[in-house]
Symmetry: C2
Subunit: 372 residues, 2 copies
């Protein structure tokens, strides 16, 4: 392989694929980025066995000249650092003896030990006949509104994923760590088959980082993996096997008390109340509604107590006292991009439901916490 | 104590004194900020026994109303968080029963357990008859050009400080970790006495963070401490006892080879060469000068090698091969704000001296490292 490539163009593509590099990888070849110079095309691939990212550059007078076809795997962290720090407009990369690579410009020469491409695992990145299209903005919205509620606890693998449930032209996305639930429902163009997928939440977040330009995302669905096609990038993730818990009947109807409230005002008031909250993880606070008064309270024996007051429009004139995690409630509120939200109460030991008349696609559930 | 104070003004002063709060403090009262409401004045003090910061607010119609004089010590992290997050323009702080404090606005009320001021250590912040004046810009320059070269190794206490040596109207500042040396010489207005002080480097860096406005710094010199007066802030630091090593004859004269070189160009070239350098701490690289060619090289058996070339103006036509820490050399170069620097070589096992004809006040020394 012998190529001459424009520095900023190569750096941009290396930055994209490098998101699939893991420093913890136990398979040495996977800490490398695979370079394949084919006819008219340089293909870059990185994988950590969990996700795979592939991108390419087309040969043209401006960006890329392929002098000799071939391939090599180069240590990811070194090639990134070298390309980032070289000041030259163009960089030459020559493979010598199948496993050595020279990266050079007029005044700089790096000779690295590469790895023969034969040692790189074969990764299949074909398309599926089952495809779903989503716009970048809608995809980002789904990720931002659901991923935060997924579990980090690897002992419950299915809860570390987002459940994508596709039936007809409806996509329902659920995420839960068993203390709260986030549900997003969006319309798709009609597809024939139904799918019930569990996608690793952290992989979705990695993919979202690559989404810079306005473009459609083509989701290719397989039994055990998903392949996203976006722009000139292929992003593949495994799916989590197993069954996602049935969340369909978790969201109650007919609240005993429902308040419509300014979202940012409530968020900031909860934020202040939680300054003194006890539990470092969840920051438990207590909410009391009496008539048109909403009080938020928190008390820690050694430190002190806080009480916040808000006036609300209590349509139902019911009263309630309920405790919950301020962290979970704040994350649920932050998921809404609307100005106001509706908070629905069903009883002191029943879930709290947050939704909004301004955006019917999103529902958040937060479980109360018993404090007595 | 009963006060009403403008939020943004209080927050600004709390942020300043909070730099003296240490979360690791074993004396509980020192995790608090001491509030003293006197006639026409609110004084705020924080200390971790190593540094003390005091600032004040004057009573006026706009910023502060003192309704009742008194004092209290309030947990630093809570008072900061509360004041930062309260949305109101004014905040009321009332002391109840000597050791409880209520911080409230129209809709928010925080009741905290404070600590009685009697338990707060007495800290003397009087002026000294020995004073030195420095402008904020010059002080910042000294800090930026010397602190990086001080040692972090607490087993050699004197090397963790910056040596301020005042004789007549000359202030000479030295810092060294025994592998490199930074020397800054500036002129003062004439003072009568001589001083040889070792000031803790990390405390100087803390003080530098407070320096926002253009103003003079008055340094009050004591046997075992320094008191900086700046703006309306008092900042006191202990001095390190002991003798600073004699650095006066460390910098050789008459180099065998001296090159004048673009500072940024050399910095970036060393930065690239060190991508492949071995030692994680020091990143050893080798410099070779042959005639007008300067080569920088680094080699790591498992990974590969790098060679960088630069053309230089070698007036002396001498050659040299010398190895050093790229990290130390880069930090030495970064200390200069000039466009070019002079690199002076005295032999393969002798110190490398960096200075600049554009700024004669600064001299940097980096020791070579034997690689064979």
């Amino acid at each position: 392989m012998k190529i001459k490539v424009k520095k900023i163009v190569l750096l941009e593509e290396l930055n994209k694929v490098s998101k699939a590099l893991s420093s913890k990888n136990i398979i040495p070849v996977l800490s490398g980025i695979c370079f394949e110079a084919k006819e008219n095309k340089l293909i870059l691939t990185a994988s950590d066995n969990d996700i795979t990212i592939q991108t390419y550059l087309n040969e043209d007078n401006e960006n890329l000249e392929i002098k000799e076809q071939g391939n090599i795997v180069i240590q990811g962290k070194y090639i990134l650092d070298i390309v980032r720090k070289l000041p030259d407009e163009y960089i030459n990369i020559d493979v010598i003896d199948d496993s050595k690579v020279s990266i050079y410009t007029d005044n700089s020469e790096f000779n690295l030990n590469g790895i023969n491409k034969k040692e790189y695992p074969t990764i299949h990145l074909e398309e599926s006949k089952n495809k779903v299209m989503l716009s970048k903005d809608l995809f980002n919205e789904i990720i931002n509104q659901t991923c935060f509620a997924a579990s980090n606890d690897e002992s419950k693998p299915s809860l570390t994923g987002i459940n994508f449930n596709i039936t007809g032209n409806i996509l329902e996305c659920n995420s839960t760590d068993s203390y709260r639930l986030s549900r997003k429902i969006v319309n798709l163009s009609d597809i024939n088959e139904s799918f019930n997928l569990i996608i690793p939440s952290k992989n979705l977040l990695e993919f979202a980082k690559i989404l810079t330009e306005e473009d459609m995302i083509e989701i290719n669905i397989f039994n055990n993996k998903l392949l996203f096609k976006y722009n000139h990038i292929l992003f593949q993730t495994r799916l989590i096997s197993g069954t996602y818990p049935n969340t369909s009947n978790l969201i109650p109807e007919d609240p005993i008390l429902k308040i419509n409230i300014d979202k940012d005002l409530l968020y900031n008031t909860i934020d202040r109340t939680s300054i003194l909250a006890t539990d470092k993880e969840k920051n438990i606070i207590t909410l009391e509604i009496q008539g048109n008064h909403l009080n938020l309270k928190s008390f820690v024996a050694e430190i002190g107590k806080v009480e916040e007051k808000m006036m609300i429009n209590n349509e139902m004139q019911e009263n309630i006292k309920i405790s919950f995690s301020s962290k979970y409630m704040m994350e649920a509120l932050k998921a809404f991009s609307t100005e106001t939200v509706d908070i629905c109460f069903f009883g002191e030991v029943k879930p709290i439901i947050i939704n909004s008349t301004e955006d019917k696609t999103l529902t958040e559930l937060v479980l109360p916490i018993r404090t007595y």
